[in-house]
Amino acid sequence: MHEISYQGEIRLTRYLDDQGVPLGEMPKWACGDSPWVTYYQQMVLARQFDTKAISLQRTGQMGTYASLLGAEAIDVVCASLMQPDDVLVPYYRNHAMQMIRGMSLTQLFLYWGGDERGSATPEMRRDLPNCVPIATQCLHACGVATALKLRGEHQAVLTMIGDGGTSKGDFLEAINVAGAWQLPVVFIINNNQWAISVPRSKQCIAPTLAQKALGAGIRGEQVDGNDAVALHEVVGQALERARAGKGPTLIEALSYRLSDHTTADDATRYRPSDELKAAWAREPVARLRNWLHSQGLWDEAREQAWQAETRQMIEDAVKAYQAIPPQTVDELYDYVYAECPAGLSEQREQARIRQQRREQGGTDHE
């Protein structure tokens, strides 16, 4: 004898089609220029930052860099909807979020330039630094949310992960405990269809990644990650639910990684070029611009002006980045522990001597 003991479903939200044309009558809250023009401006800034970062890497002025090309809408909408005292637990592709959360462009270049001070400034508040080991950030986000909840504070925590990362235990354990403890956390999957060279289809046979939420007993949904309007609704509601103590949400934002995985990668080795071409036709920046144009909220003149303005901001940031003096050798030792232990102090002393020696041209010149 059989009975149904559980039923669940996943919903997908879209408002704008691939070209930015409304799919139906737009909701009232979508009318007017706010926040859409600001979103658009931030997205343009993010894309310009990205272009510059890649060119700094190509010219040897910065290290390996993970491009956010194609994820501008997700990053910008998520960060913009966060309140200052919400906490961001980013992964390594969230530069635009970090920008909006208060990190200067200079700091971002500094981090990607291989300098720990890029994660050090007070503008980052209690936000966590970039997370490189896949999926671990999801558990940190739950820990942060636990801290907020235990203290009776009503902020939300937002964290992001890639499609590939959803296969790793940390993510799955995180959504489970978020459910069990009803934590104020929003998980965003940036499903950009690729984990380096491994396509989404090879990570998981389920038709959506959002349905992993069902296994954890939490709310899960899909959203068009190139559609700023849809993102605004879905992410905004999730953040509000979290702040109101109504528990966690898992949001799968459907996007596409328009770049190589990082500057160290060559996607032409494994990715069909027509797939990439098709994805460009759906990309988030042009889509939002078209919609703004169609409503008379943006025009070519404003575009030109904003492009010039952001270009200048970025040039200034690059200059500031390049002017930052290197760390001293002491900084390699001073933050390992709250107080430098005896043995490490001795090593620091030796390192200072070594550094002097090196600056003087090495042992042969002694």
């Binding site: 906490v87 637990v89 720990e116 001070r117 994660s119 050090a120 400034t121 007070p122 980052m124 209690r126 966590l128 630094p129 490189v132 080991p133 671990t136 999801c138 558990l139 940190h140 986000a141 739950c142 820990g143 942060v144 949310a145 636990t146 801290a147 907020l148 235990l150 235990g169 940390d170 354990e173 995180a174 489970n176 405990v177 069990a180 900084e331 933050y335 390992v336 522990y337 709250a338 232990p341 005896a342 043995g343 490490l344």
Partner: protein
């Protein structure tokens, strides 16, 4: 205020209670630590006293326990997580190594990770497989972590308080074989012990015996027996395996000229090697005999029926000491 004789396990409980009491940021989490009071009862009564928001039973996932603790600690809490047995600590390693150990360093002090990861370790209680290992070296090798091991009720109390108040992530390993081995007077005075100093348990002039955790018992017993034979042993409890207080060890061996290091963990690349290496670097000319290690062998910890075949015992120490004393070039 307890100052009656208590076990090492009681002392852990006492320090946890003290810490919960004095600092609202202290939160305990782990498997079965709530109503059940932990499988060894280290957290017995604490949920009843401090409530389930301070003493939290988690879902069954060690990676999660470590990852949650990292996140909590970045926001100013002081999570004290229990891993039920050290044999189940491995899923925590990515979070301990890649995150806990580095949070302060990566953010140049903007954030820190004042968490404690407690776990009972070592053999000798006839436990099932994977419940008797000693892998302290794996954690001691990691810059940014502290690894602390008590060997008496008083040191358990003082070192655990120090670990919880410390602004660094601390792995606190409890020698479960001596959890209930003996009772001594411990005053619940809130005084922490230093995390950067060995404990010289007995002064001596002929040879230095260096150990930590449960093996301190066998080491002290051996020292007694050797005293009867006219051999004067200095006995040092290392207690903090990282950062380690090499100065005390080097000074002692420079004085006695001989040493035996005793630990339960496997021999190869164990902590005994680090200590011997440092002695050979810094006290070579004082060494009147090769240093010796009395350790577990490089084999798998046997199932409980055979664990005595693995564990070093008093005789092993006696023989090593006698041979070292008899050594002549």
């Amino acid at each position: 205020m307890s100052d009656h004789a208590i076990t090492l396990l009681d002392a852990v409980n006492l320090a946890l209670a003290r810490a919960l009491d004095e600092d609202p940021n202290v939160v305990l989490l782990g498997e079965d630590i709530g109503t059940n009071g932990g499988v060894f009862r280290a957290t017995d009564g604490l949920k009843a006293r401090f409530g389930e928001r301070r003493v939290i039973d988690t879902p069954l996932a060690e990676t999660m326990i470590a990852g949650l603790s990292v996140g909590m600690a970045t926001q100013g809490l002081r999570p004290v997580a229990e891993i039920q047995f050290m044999g189940f600590i491995f899923p925590t390693m990515e979070h301990m190594i890649a995150h806990a150990a580095r949070m302060r360093h990566r953010t140049r002090g903007r954030l820190s990770c004042p968490m404690v990861l407690r776990a009972p370790f070592g053999g000798g209680i006839h436990a099932p497989e994977h419940h008797s290992e000693s892998t302290e070296t794996l954690l001691a090798h990691i810059p940014g972590l502290r690894v602390v091991i008590p060997s008496s009720p008083a040191r358990a109390y003082g070192l655990l308080l120090a670990a919880i108040r410390c602004d660094d992530p601390v792995v606190f390993l409890e020698p479960k074989r001596i959890y209930r081995a003996s009772k001594t007077l411990v005053e619940d005075n809130g005084e922490a012990l230093p995390l950067d100093t060995c404990f010289t348990l007995r002064e001596g002039s002929d040879i230095t015996l260096i150990s930590w955790g449960a093996m301190i018992s066998e080491t002290l017993t051996a020292a007694d027996r050797l005293a009867d034979e006219g051999i004067s042993c200095e006995v040092i409890d290392v207690a903090t395996l990282n950062p380690i207080d090499h100065a005390t060890l080097v000074a002692s061996v420079s004085k006695t000229g001989r040493c035996v290091i005793i630990h339960e963990a496997p021999h190869h690349a164990g902590m005994g090697a680090e200590i011997e290496a440092t002695l050979s670097e810094q006290a070579l000319t004082y060494l009147q005999a090769p240093p010796r290690r009395v350790t577990g062998d490089d084999t798998i910890m046997p199932y409980y029926r055979y664990e005595q075949l693995y564990l070093p015992d008093v005789d092993d120490i006696l023989i090593a000491v006698r041979e070292t004393m008899e050594y002549s070039g």
